[in-house]
């Protein structure tokens, strides 16, 4: 049957230990502790758990980069979920926090970790409160703390570390900087690969919430059953948030073998009001837009990449015919300009310039040559900035121009937005 991360997410008391135990909680931890650490590591490699934060990087491979013999290793769980369109981790943090705690304990046991931090974005207030309560419960019942479940060789402390409003802190090196008490500005790799030189220059693997919780299911099911759903390169299930112009926006768990068409039309009920699909962003603001012709793409990492986009965070944003491509690009570029950490010039200045040009085009002040100017600015940010935020910021621009260049041209020629929009997607005030 495969894993079911969201199996108990709707139960009103799932966040309490008593209910979590009734639903089979902490059995995976017990089972894991009965296995040699090497066997757990082997399972993780065989199961090919792909990272669910946005890169799809295999968990086993990440573990393999931790220096052998390292004695002080910190685990940082990335609960900074901030990629536009992505709202899947929050459900686990708020409604099933023990699943994360149990999974982190399994992770810590396998890798040899005694201190773990959950870096949770500051806005997730209820989730932080629920996590802290769940951690207290877990400690009281011997699932955390010293000598877990009687094992003298296994102790673990998990601390909730709230962020304070910065998308860039979801980038793993910036997260580590923030955890270290600094501005969340990314670090250079090499040498600062988190698994090699992370917090206080100790190995600090950083992994997404959804990635980590998969460990509970892997241990409970065993490798074969875990891999019985999904695809050969992306086994298991994925949480797919679907938002925008669908009848039933929601977060749907499905095997990786599901197609984009199935997610939009079967799970989310199709486009609202019988409208036509204009474009769909399959994996958060940082990935290329797809259209009607791409709907049969299998929603696993390698298939979406082969189709010219990326599964990313799986934040699926559906846009129908009432959407103006320029305004949508402007909305996302505004996001990146706002969230730019400021460290490197191409991103800090370039995102602001792209926003200014897009705003003029959208609000009737476009000039001939503006599209070429946008393309030129974008080409000097993408691939030339210190971290992926810069690369991400140009994607909405390049993607919307590639698909809807004529729409841009009409904005400029007619000196207005020619699309009959239901709602404006940007401010009537120009950006500063």
């Amino acid at each position: 049957m495969g894993p079911r991360i969201y199996k108990y997410i709707a139960h009103p008391n799932q966040h309490r230990l008593e209910t979590y135990l009734e639903h089979g909680g902490y059995q995976a931890l017990r089972k894991a502790l009965s296995m040699p650490r090497e066997e757990l590591v082997a399972w993780v490699n065989e199961a090919n758990i792909r990272g669910r934060g946005g890169a799809g990087f295999p968990l086993g491979r990440k573990w393999g980069t931790i220096p052998k013999g390292a004695t002080t290793i910190y685990l940082a769980c990335n609960a900074d979920e901030s990629e536009p369109g992505t709202c899947k981790d929050r459900e686990i943090l708020e409604n099933d926090p023990h699943q994360l705690i149990e999974a982190m304990a399994i992770y810590a046991y396998a890798v040899g970790i005694r201190q773990a931090y959950i870096y949770i974005r500051g806005e997730f207030r209820l989730a932080a409160e629920r996590l802290e309560a769940a951690i207290r419960e877990a400690r009281e019942h011997g699932f955390l703390g010293r000598n877990i479940l009687g094992r003298e060789d296994f102790s673990l402390d998990i601390w909730v570390h709230r962020g304070a409003g910065a998308y860039i802190c979801g980038e793993e090196t910036a997260l580590i900087e923030s955890l270290g008490g600094k501005r969340g500005q990314p670090r250079l790799r090499p040498p600062y690969y988190p698994t090699v030189m992370g917090l206080l220059n100790r190995p600090t693997p950083v992994n997404n919430v959804e990635t980590i919780v998969n460990l509970v299911h892997l241990v409970n099911l065993g490798v074969e059953a875990y891999k019985s759903v999904g695809t050969s390169t992306s086994p298991g299930t994925k949480l797919y948030p679907v938002s925008g112009h669908v009848k039933r926006p929601g977060v749907y768990e499905a095997p990786f073998s599901v197609t984009l068409r199935q997610l939009i039309y079967d799970y989310a009920g199709g486009i609202r009001n019988g409208n036509r699909l204009k474009a769909v962003i399959p994996g958060g603001a940082s990935v290329r837009w797809l259209t009607e012709k791409d709907l049969d793409v299998v929603m696993d990492f390698d298939s979406v990449r082969a189709a010219g986009s990326d599964l990313g965070s799986a934040g699926i944003m559906v846009m129908d015919e009432t959407v103006c491509a320029v305004d949508a690009a402007l909305n996302l570029v505004h996001f990146f300009a706002h969230e730019s950490c400021g460290k490197c010039t191409p991103c800090r200045e370039g995102t602001r310039w792209m926003e200014q040009i897009l705003w003029r085009i959208q609000h009737g002040e476009g000039r001939p040559g503006d599209i070429e100017l946008l393309e030129d600015v974008a080409s000097n940010i993408g691939g030339k900035s210190f971290c992926l935020l810069g690369d991400s910021s140009v994607v909405p621009v390049q993607s919307s121009i590639a698909l809807f260049r004529d729409e841009y041209e009409r904005h400029i020629a007619e000196k207005r937005c020619p699309v009959a929009q239901e709602f404006p997607l940007s401010s009537p005030e120009p950006p500063h």
């Binding site: 002080t72 910190y74 304070a164 008490g181 940007s426």
Partner: protein, 184 residues
């Protein structure tokens, strides 16, 4: 003393969670902002003293993160998400409605000190757009009517509480079918 004795004890406990004192800057600032409502210059100097670092290092952090306030905000902070999924669901209209209703622009506080209005970026609740957070507790699928009711309840002195959601709104068809079948 800037903080309560309880708060100083809390800061000490927080510092003990980390291998280095400096890691505790953000958690300590959260304690200070909870106690004082915002982070003043005096508070930054005090935080530096507690952590054994320089005030400029504290200021470095405070100035970077959007959720730390350097002036006292209103009794309630109303944050309206404006990023794509919420924008597609009408978030700009919700923001404008609040601007008109409260008589302030984003970034401002009402003269009576009750509400600070903020236009914010993706809050991570996109499937329940448009989203409004009051003191960082989330309210989902907002309409102008829901906004009006929310403001009324806050004016009456009710504390914000994250909205309970109906997960049935999400359930995929085959689960809905299975549930219907099992109840037949």
């Amino acid at each position: 003393m800037l903080l309560s004795e309880q708060a100083y004890k809390e800061c000490e406990e927080i510092i003990s969670r980390y291998p280095d004192k400096r890691c505790a800057i953000i958690p300590v600032l959260w304690v200070i902002q909870r106690e004082c409502g915002y982070i003043s210059e005096e508070a930054m100097i005090e935080a530096a003293r507690i952590l054994g670092i320089r005030p400029v290092e504290v200021m470095d952090v405070v100035s970077f993160y959007t959720m730390f306030y350097s002036t006292k905000p209103g009794r309630h902070v109303i944050a309206v998400c404006q990023t794509l999924s919420c924008a597609l669901a009408g978030a700009r209209k919700i923001l404008e409605h609040l601007q008109n209703k409260l008589g302030i622009k984003p970034g401002e506080t009402t003269p009576d000190g009750m509400f600070t209005l903020e236009a914010v970026e993706c809050l991570g609740a996109c499937a329940d757009a448009p989203v409004v957070a009051v003191d960082w507790y989330y309210y989902y699928r907002m309409t102008e009517e829901k906004v009006d009711r929310l403001i009324e309840s806050l004016k009456k002195g009710e504390e914000p509480q994250q909205e309970r959601r109906d997960f049935r709104l999400w359930l995929a068809p085959e689960i809905q079918t299975a549930e219907r079948k099992s109840s037949e």
